[in-house]
Amino acid sequence: MGHLSDKRIKELEVLANRLRRHVIEMVAHAGSGHQGGPLGMADVFAVLYFEALKHDPKEPEWEDRDRLILSNGHTCPIRYAAMAEAGYFPVEELKTLRRLGTRLQGHPERTKLPGAETTSGPLGAGLAQAAGLAYAAKMDKKKWRVFCQTSDGEHEAGLHWEAMLFAGKNRLDNLVCIVDRNNIQIDGRTEDIMPLEPFREKYEAFNWHVLECDGNNVSAVVDALEATKSLFDKPICLVTHNVPGKGVSYMENNHLWHSQPFKPGEAEAAVKELDETRARLETELAKL
């Protein structure tokens, strides 16, 4: 990936905007689903799918691909949007989210959608699977890496800490745990529900490297993911500080938009705001 030009950074911002629009349209069309997390993670997913990951949308099972395990499965609309834009399946198919017979299940399933990598939803289980994968890769001296996207709220699950211990013990430096640190969960603020701070220190105490960045700053995400390549001997945690609902002002930082059905007009207002942002971004891009 290396250092990216201002133009490429702007292109990724435009892409992230497009992913956000897909999220709104998918969830609105489905009549249910999650918006806050996916919108907050859009910049990270744009960077992952269009710069950071070694992958081939035309060959989802390519042996040497990097594996991206989505642990907080409820945020799958952002993964589906990124996969569609990357060419795993037609963008049209996004409309089938949560419908009977769809490959785009309400929570993702490995066996239904090539490239989904795992089945997830019950929180706290992704890092364990990612650590198992990373361990297998080390056994076979494979070069591919394992990325695990997690939410901050799911760090309350005991299983996640079991996986942290295992990864630390086995020095799985081919494993990157990305944390969507958006400070919200279903019932409110994470620090009210069950405080996670001091967050960084917990990972460090479990023998992990820790990096932090502004997850809604594409350039910062690019640099942070690049930096993970230069860390060795321990697994890596990348805390991305994200604004839940990012890009749609009435959703930003409001935990109720973790997931709630749109009322009439709300989705349209969100799309309108995102389209205005896109027009601005494209104007900026044209000048670069």
Binding site: A125, G132, G158, A163
Partner: protein, 330 residues
């Protein structure tokens, strides 16, 4: 009479028949399987010796993965190992895996269709003095409703070894149920074993016992004693609880007209339930259930507990006679 095709030992009824725990069969079988397939790994949750992993660890140290007292991770991490091309045998006491780790087994292993073999040792009340906390007698019931799981409860250490080798070759998740306590070794290397195919050990026409696990031997003893009392009892070794060999169940029901199921497990949701579900839809048949009657286990000597909970030879005989009486009345 005992079927020659079953190739059982000749001293089947000898009270001094050699005994071994089925978990010993696992320990041998997993080494057999690992010699043939380099992708097999063993994942252990701080119970290396008691789950009989010492030999494997010695032979294949690089393929032995110690995860500590992390049963949820044991299951979920193994799903990841399997997605990375390994065939993990995950080992603990049945109470903890699948017991504690049920949701990870269901979602990460089974729904995810990963090739993980779940080895649950210390199943049943015959765990003995450790008491109810460690006696898994609900494990078959929690595993049976999972759509793509295969469940095997071998009848002795020799069959256990074969079951492990067969499970390694079987594509998809398998739950292997083993016991702590030593029990009679009465099958031989020549006894047929195939996952999903029941073996009729004794032919008979009055009542059919369908059993799994080490109580199959008690079932045979009961049948031999009942023969002297004039009852001709069939004994079917239903080592694979899922997928159930429905053909064999139906054959037993049609041939005998009365069934007794025998298992070291809660009566609710176990082999007895599977047989009843099968027969209710195909050939409704009188059935008696030998197993733990809706109770938790407790401390005691294994044989005492088997007697206490009504799974010893006299209890099986009683159930057979009751089934026969009901059949005759009907």
């Amino acid at each position: 009479m005992i079927r020659k095709e079953a190739r059982l030992v000749e001293n089947l009824l000898d009270p001094k028949i050699p005994q071994k725990p089925t978990r010993d069969g696992y320990g041998l079988g997993v080494v057999d399987a690992a010699e043939k397939d380099p992708n097999i790994v063993v994942v252990c949750a701080d119970l290396t010796e008691s789950t009989r992993n010492l030999d494997f660890k010695k032979r294949f140290p690089d393929r032995f993965i110690q995860v500590g007292v992390h049963e949820q991770f044991l299951a979920a991490g193994a799903a990841g190992l399997a997605m990375g091309g390994k065939i993990p045998f995950i080992t603990s006491y049945a109470m903890f895996c699948p017991g504690r780790a049920w949701e990870q087994v269901r979602t990460n292993i089974c729904l995810n269709e990963t090739n993980v073999k779940i080895v649950g040792s210390h199943a049943g009340v015959s765990v003995g003095p450790d008491g109810a906390t460690h006696q898994a007698i609900e494990d078959i019931a929690i595993m049976r409703p999972i759509p793509n799981i295969t469940i095997v409860a071998p009848c002795d250490a020799v069959e256990a070894r074969k079951a492990v080798v067969a499970a390694a070759r079987w594509e998809g998740p398998v739950y292997l149920r083993f016991a702590r306590e030593k029990t009679p070794v009465f099958t031989t290397d020549d006894s047929p074993f195939e996952i999903g195919k029941a073996a009729t050990f004794r032919s008979g026409k009055d009542v059919a016992i369908v059993a799994c696990g080490s109580l199959v031997h008690n079932a045979l003893l009961a049948a031999e004693e009942l023969a002297e009392e004039g009852l001709d009892v069939m004994v079917v070794n239903m080592h694979t609880v899922k997928p159930l060999d429905e053909k064999a169940v139906l054959h037993a029901a049609e041939a005998c007209g009365a069934i007794v199921t025998v298992e070291e497990h809660q009566i609710t949701g176990g082999l007895g339930g599977a047989v009843a579900e099968c027969l209710a839809k195909t050939h409704p048949t009188i059935q008696e259930f030998v197993g733990v009657p809706n109770a938790f286990g407790e401390s005691g000597a294994p044989t005492e507990l088997i007697r206490h909970f009504g799974m010893d030879v006299p209890a099986i005989k009683k159930a057979v006679k009751k089934a026969h009486k009901r059949k005759t009345k009907a």
